[in-house]
Symmetry: C2
Subunit: 190 residues, 2 copies
DNA sequence: CGGTCTCTTGACGGAGTTCAAAGCTAGTGG
DNA sequence: CCACTAGCTTTGAACTCCGTCAAGAGACCG
């Protein structure tokens, strides 16, 4: 819970009684590597904050292989927002890449919470504004870079993270095949 | 201003005096087709709501050609969020695709406004939550579909919008060349 | 009606995929 | 703590989607 409270205080001010309310309205979950928080087709009923570990959001494409859309590291929120907003069937899976500690706010609890603690509206607005900025940036790289450039950019920007995940996940996230990633690595190491 | 107020009322409740405050803190701008609201390298000092018309967000890639990241139609917000959040140099251009009526909230006014009218925090949080959901969906299509499938999906989903914009913009938004779009159209009309 | 955008056509080339198979690594149970 | 196995990574060859270039046809605006 520590990271979570710190994170809130980075963006707004929250009182001790409000923290207590928050604690009673959230669930802290420990999950193992490869455990699923959400499956395609289910209704996504919670928003997940990564206290520790790493989650991924992905779907299965027509050819039957996994396509990763997003990773969430410590201090990031992750959910299938379409499903979460509209209570529609999820289009994505959410899975633990490593053993994780997750803080979950259930959909119905969130509505109540935001009424009881209005400053959380500010917190979520700011967090979403940053996440949205990141997604604009992401699109810029996707459109502007070749696969090789994407790979170089990503490994230079997040060297530590690249060590944390298997290569096939990196390939999937960057939008190419594990075979091609292997070819790139070989080429670039010479 | 009508669309704007209606849009706010779809997500939260705003009082008459609050509307007056809002009116005095925003600027309504009329711009002509091809006018620019933001250039790469400038600091983006406003968030733009499309009351009427259509905007596009794009950048110039290494080869010197325009890459469109996003369109904004009526009732959508558009800005370079990275630049807007951090007062850093913009990575994008914002341009009118058609003659437009735009409502602009300046960066510093927005901070004041959100303090004076707390319900706007809820409004922006919800709008961003929807925009973020749309961007997750966008990524799913980008990763999951071939160029041909992207084209078919887009034209089927937004036939009216496809009529509103030149083909080279559609090609740019979908991430391919006008030449290939032309080839696709020919092939698919047979 | 003249000039500048926009769209089309076709030839060619290359980045990245697919498939199949072999080598490697790490986790698990005995 | 070792051995076995499933899953991950590498290799290479064939193929294909889509970009590039260049040139011409059409459309729209002043």
């Amino acid at each position: 819970m520590d990271n979570f409270i710190k994170h809130i205080n980075k963006f707004t001010t929250i009182s001790q009684p409000e923290i207590e309310t928050l604690k009673s309205a959230t669930k802290t979950i420990s999950i193992k590597k490869k455990d699923l928080l959400l499956k395609e087709g289910e209704i996504c009923r919670a928003n997940y904050f990564v206290e520790k570990g790493c989650l991924r959001l992905y779907f299965i494409n027509e050819k039957g292989s996994e396509q990763i859309i997003q990773f969430a590291l410590e201090n990031w929120w992750l959910t299938d927002y379409m499903s979460f907003n509209n209570s529609s069937p999820a289009q994505f899976y959410i899975q633990a890449v490593e053993d994780c500690t997750i803080i979950a706010i259930a959909r119905n609890e969130q509505d109540k919470l935001l009424t009881e603690i209005p400053t959380l509206e500010k917190y979520f607005r700011k967090v979403l504004q940053i996440a949205y900025a990141a997604s604009q940036n992401r699109l810029k790289f996707l459109y502007g870079y070749s696969k090789e450039e994407s790979y170089l950019h990503f490994t230079n920007s997040f060297p530590a993270f690249v060590q944390r995940i298997p290569q096939y996940m990196l390939a999937s996230y960057l939008g190419f095949t594990p075979e091609y990633l292997s070819e790139l690595r070989k080429k670039l190491s010479q």
